[in-house]
Symmetry: C2
Subunit: 164 residues, 2 copies
């Protein structure tokens, strides 16, 4: 009999716009948790799934840094992440001719097979989740999130504890 909270119940200290921000934060955490559990039979996290999806659909071969940038994964984090994925046979590091500093990252056949198993169920799940919203609302969410991302980026250098 676990009590279910919603972000609006949580934030007794927040006014309406603060509440909206907490909503995005909170829902993001929920999605992360849910996705982790969704993939748990095959992958240790949703980050690994996203890495594999980016690798599958990217038009160009990607290095560790490029992969990290696209998925907001820090370079110091991507090392261990790819180590573990390499160890479990999902990806491969290829040396790059002409630049011995970096690697090209590639899905293995085994990685591709596993992605094959989870991709469609995941897409179905997303469809079902988002069926809650009309086309117009989906557009709203996309636009609002883009604007919020831009606002965060724009405010990045103005906070009280930055001294750059």
């Amino acid at each position: 009999m676990e009590k279910k909270y919603c972000h609006t119940e949580l934030v007794s200290f927040a006014d309406r716009d603060h509440e909206a921000l907490m909503g995005v934060w909170w829902t993001g955490i929920l999605l992360k948790k849910r996705a982790k559990h969704f993939f748990s039979n095959f992958l240790s996290s949703e980050v690994q799934f996203n890495i594999m999806m980016v690798l599958k659909y990217s038009e160009k071969t990607l290095t560790q840094s490029e992969l990290g940038e696209q998925l907001l994964v820090d370079k110091s984090n991507i090392t261990g992440l790819l180590d573990r994925m390499e160890k479990s046979g999902l990806i491969r590091r290829l040396s790059v001719p002409g630049d011995r500093r970096c690697y090209h990252i590639e899905l293995t056949d085994s990685g591709r097979e596993i992605l094959e198993k989870v991709e469609q169920p995941y897409r179905d799940y997303v469809k079902k989740l988002m069926a809650t919203f009309s086309a117009k609302e989906i557009d709203d969410i996309n636009r609002y999130m883009s604007r919020l991302e831009k606002a965060v980026a724009a405010e990045e250098s103005t906070a009280f504890n930055d001294r750059s």
Copy 2:
């Protein structure tokens, strides 16, 4: 000269509703990163800030579990989190008369002082961030996030790798 990505650039594998979902996920991560940095002079994470805010504004005394539920922090995580906060003098564990299983968590004076320093700047920052949106848009975001939270909760038992 770091390339800035937006969630809509990332998701070459996603259609419009998938993209919206990724937007919430991505923006959530951004907010978390940004907040961590914002508090870094005083606190090791935005989770610690949120714990302190909940403690400050809660009408009743909270136990570890109650605190964890409100902030989506797992019980096995809250232990270490409060250990560290206790060690750095932000909170205190009080034994509960009549129930020796649990603790009441309380801000220390030092914790209150630190919160005093960061709360207003944080509120100002949120205000500035959300000034991007009209009142109607703020309402939209709140409603959309609430609906998404409910949808996630509703689908929780239907995914392909659940066998409950």
